[in-house]
C-alpha cells in the first residue's frame, strides 16, 4: 500500500462521519433555501433564489449580519486579550500546579452553556452581585444583562477557554532562550515582549482570535438567554425563522449565506497567515 493510500484510509472514518453528519444535512439545507414561501407562510417547493433576494433586500437582514460581526469580533478580541497573558503564564510556569491551572483555565468547557448563563444572571442581573455591590457603594446600578452588554460579556467568557487552548498550542515556537538572548543583548522586559515574544506569538494570536470569532458568531444560547429577547443576531434570527415563524427557506438561506461568509473570512485569514509566516 502506498503512503497516499494509507493516508486516505486513515482519514476515511472521519470523512464518512462528516459526510453523514455534516455534508448531507448541509445539502438538504441548501436545497431548502431554494424553496419559496407563500404569502400565507406555506412552503412552496421551487428552485429559485427568491428567498435570497427577499432577505437581501430587507435592511433588517443586513443590520443583524453587521451586529453579529461586531459582536463576535468584540467578544473574540476581549477573550483574546484576557486569554493571552493567562496562556503565556501557563506556557512559562514551572509550577507543579501547572496542569491544575490549565484545567481551571478551561473548566468553563465542563459546564453546560445554559448553567453558565444562569450563573451570569446571578452575577449581572439587576439584583445580582455586581449591582448589589454598586448599591452598597451608592453608585447607580447598571443594566448588565438582557442587552448587548450582557451578551458581549457572556460570549467573551464562553469562547475564552478555546482561545487559551489555541494560544497554548501555538506557543510551541516560543523558545525561552530567545527571550534570554534578548535580555543579554540589553532588552528590558518591555522590549523583550514587544520585539521577540509578541511577534513570535502573533500567528497563534490570529488563530486564537479567529477561533473565538467563529464560535462567537455561531453562538446561540448566550445571545438567546443573555440578550433577554432584545439582542438579534444571525443565530437567533435563524432559530426564530425555523421555530417561530416557520419560514424554513429563510432559515436555510440565512444559514447558507452565513456559512459562505465565514468560509470566505477563514480562507482570507489563512492566506494572510501563510504570507506572513516566518
Amino acid at each position: 500500500m502506498t503512503r497516499r493510500q494509507t493516508g486516505v484510509l486513515l482519514c476515511l472514518p472521519a470523512l464518512l462521519l462528516l459526510a453523514v453528519a455534516f455534508v448531507w444535512p448541509m445539502a438538504i439545507l441548501a436545497r431548502m433555501s431554494l424553496n419559496e414561501t407563500a404569502d400565507t407562510g406555506a412552503l412552496v417547493p421551487a428552485l429559485s433564489l427568491a428567498t435570497y433576494t427577499r432577505l437581501a433586500s430587507d435592511s433588517f437582514t443586513w443590520q443583524i449580519a453587521w451586529d453579529s460581526l461586531v459582536l463576535a469580533a468584540g467578544s473574540a478580541t476581549v477573550a483574546t486579550l484576557l486569554a493571552y497573558p493567562m496562556a503565556l503564564f501557563l506556557f512559562r510556569t514551572k509550577s507543579r500546579y501547572r496542569n491544575l491551572l490549565a484545567i481551571v483555565a478551561i473548566a468553563p468547557l465542563l459546564v453546560s452553556g445554559t448553567a453558565r448563563v444562569i450563573g451570569w444572571m446571578a452575577i449581572l442581573g439587576d439584583g445580582g452581585m455586581i449591582n448589589a455591590g454598586l448599591r452598597l457603594l451608592g453608585i447607580p446600578t447598571q443594566h448588565l444583562i438582557n442587552n448587548w452588554t450582557g451578551v458581549r460579556i457572556g460570549l467573551a467568557e464562553s469562547v475564552m477557554p478555546y482561545t487559551v487552548l489555541a494560544l497554548l498550542a501555538g506557543f510551541g515556537r516560543l523558545d525561552h532562550a530567545l527571550e534570554e538572548a534578548a535580555a543579554t543583548l540589553g532588552a528590558g522586559p518591555f522590549f523583550r515582549f514587544w520585539r521577540v515574544t509578541l511577534p513570535l506569538t502573533l500567528p497563534s494570536v490570529t488563530a486564537g482570535w479567529m477561533l473565538g470569532f467563529v464560535l462567537a458568531i455561531s453562538a446561540f444560547i448566550t445571545p438567546h438567554l443573555m440578550g433577554g429577547g432584545r439582542v438579534f443576531v444571525l443565530a437567533t434570527e435563524i432559530f426564530d425563522a425555523a421555530t417561530q415563524t416557520l419560514d424554513w427557506p429563510a432559515a436555510a438561506a440565512l444559514s447558507v449565506a452565513a456559512l459562505a461568509g465565514l468560509s470566505a473570512l477563514m480562507l482570507l485569514q489563512s492566506l494572510v497567515a501563510r504570507r506572513g509566516s516566518v
Binding site: L178, E180, A182, T184, L185, G186, A187, G188
Partner: protein, 349 residues
C-alpha cells in the same frame, strides 16, 4: 586585579547543589574554558555570570564593579547560546542590530556596526537571510556577531560548537579563537569537549561536581593533572590501581616506577597512551609491561592499540609515521614500556 572575578559562587536547584563553590579570575582579553561533564555546573556558572540565574551565594565582579544583583539586560554580557537562540523572525542583520538598538546607538552608527560585525564573521553577503535559510555554521557565526556587536564586557560561549559536525567544528574553533583574539574580548567558554578546551583556551578550569577541580594552562591540566578526576576526564589513559611498596607501585605481577611516591598507601596510576611505546627485543625502559594485542584501530596520525595484560586492559597510541603498526596483528605478544616520569599517580580515595 582580574577583569572578571567569580567569588565563591553557589547555586542549588530544589536542594541539589549544581554549583558548590566556584572562584575564578579571568584576566582582560583572555579566554578561560570551563570544561566538564554534563551536570558539573559549568553551564549554571555561565548563566550566573550572564545574569540568567541568581546565585544563592557569592559575588560576580566585572572590572571592579559588583554586578551580582544586576538584571541581565543591564550587564553587557555577550552570550552565544548552545542553540544559538537567533530570532527566527529577523534576518542576520536584524539579529546583529538588535543589541546595538537596545543600547541606543544612532541609526547611522548602527548600520556601520552591523556591517562591520557581519564582515568580521564573513557573512556580509548573507545579511538579508533569515536564520532558517542559513547552515548551522552560518547561524553560529551570526550568533557570535550578535554577541560581539554590543561590545560586551565579557563574552560568554555556551557549548557554541556542539551542534556542528566534526570538521566544521575544528574550522570554526580556529576562526572563533582568531576573532576572540582580534577583538580582545574577555571570554568564558563552556564546553564538555576537552580538545576544544585545550585548543582554544588560555586557561582551562576543569569542573567536577560543582567545583573547579583544577585551573591551569591546557598543558598543565593535560600533563600534570592534580586529581584523578582531572586525569580521567582530560585525555585518555592506561589506568591501573596498585599499592606502594619499597618506593614503587605494585600492580598485579609488575612493579611500576613513579616520581615522588610516599612511603605507603593505595594509588591509582594513569599513563597517557601516547607515552607508552612498543618495545623491541633488547629495548629497556623504566617501566615495562607484557600483554597480548586485543585490537588495533588505524585512526590516521596514530594507531590505537588495546592491550590485554594481567594488570587489566589498556590503550596504547602508536605513531603511524614509521609504519611499524602494519606488522602488528591481534593476538601478538607485546612488551610495552614508558618513562618513570610519565607515570601519573593519585592516592586512592
Amino acid at each position: 586585579m582580574a577583569y572578571l572575578e567569580l567569588r565563591n559562587l553557589a547555586r542549588s536547584y530544589a536542594g541539589r547543589p549544581a554549583v558548590r563553590d566556584v572562584s575564578l579570575n579571568v584576566e582582560r582579553g583572555t579566554l578561560v574554558a570551563l570544561l566538564g561533564a554534563s551536570g558539573c555546573g559549568k553551564t549554571t556558572t555561565l548563566r550566573m555570570v550572564a545574569g540568567l540565574e541568581a546565585p544563592d551565594a557569592g559575588r560576580i565582579v566585572v572590572d571592579g564593579r559588583d554586578v551580582t544583583s544586576l538584571a541581565p539586560h543591564r550587564r553587557r554580557m555577550g552570550v552565544v547560546f548552545q542553540s544559538y537562540a537567533l530570532f527566527p523572525h529577523m534576518d542576520a542583520a536584524g539579529n546583529v542590530a538588535f543589541g546595538i538598538q537596545m543600547h541606543g546607538a544612532p541609526r547611522a552608527a548602527r548600520a556601520t556596526r552591523v556591517a562591520e560585525m557581519l564582515a568580521l564573521v564573513g557573512l556580509s553577503e548573507h545579511a538579508g537571510k533569515k536564520p532558517r535559510q542559513m547552515s548551522g555554521g552560518q547561524q553560529q557565526r551570526v550568533a557570535l556577531a550578535r554577541a560581539l556587536a554590543i561590545e560586551p564586557d565579557v563574552l560568554l560561549l555556551d557549548e557554541p560548537l556542539s551542534a556542528l559536525d566534526a570538521k566544521l567544528r575544528e574550522d570554526l574553533r580556529v576562526e572563533m579563537r582568531a576573532i576572540q583574539r582580534s577583538t580582545g574580548a574577555t571570554t568564558l567558554f563552556v564546553t564538555h569537549d576537552q580538545a576544544e578546551a585545550l585548543a582554544m583556551a588560555d586557561l582551562v578550569a576543569v569542573m567536577d561536581a560543582g567545583r573547579i577541580a583544577q585551573l591551569g594552562t591546557p598543558e598543565a591540566v593535560f600533563e600534570r593533572p592534580e586529581t584523578a578526576y582531572v586525569a580521567a576526564f582530560v585525555g585518555r589513559s592506561a589506568r591501573f590501581s596498585g599499592v606502594i611498596r619499597e618506593s614503587r607501585i605494585d600492580v598485579a605481577d609488575i612493579s611500576i616506577a613513579a616520581p615522588g611516591l610516599p612511603a605507603s598507601g593505595r594509588v591509582d596510576v594513569f599513563v597517557r597512551p601516547h607515552r607508552i611505546s612498543v618495545l623491541r627485543a633488547g629495548d629497556v625502559a623504566d617501566n615495562t609491561i607484557e600483554g597480548t594485542l586485543d585490537a588495533i584501530d588505524y585512526t590516521g596520525e596514530v594507531a590505537q592499540l588495546l592491550v590485554q595484560s594481567p594488570c587489566g586492559r589498556f590503550p596504547v597510541d602508536l605513531a603511524t609515521a614509521d609504519g611499524t603498526w602494519r606488522d602488528l596483528r591481534p593476538g601478538d605478544k607485546l612488551r610495552l614500556g614508558w618513562h618513570a616520569a610519565d607515570t601519573l599517580w593519585f592516592e586512592a580515595p
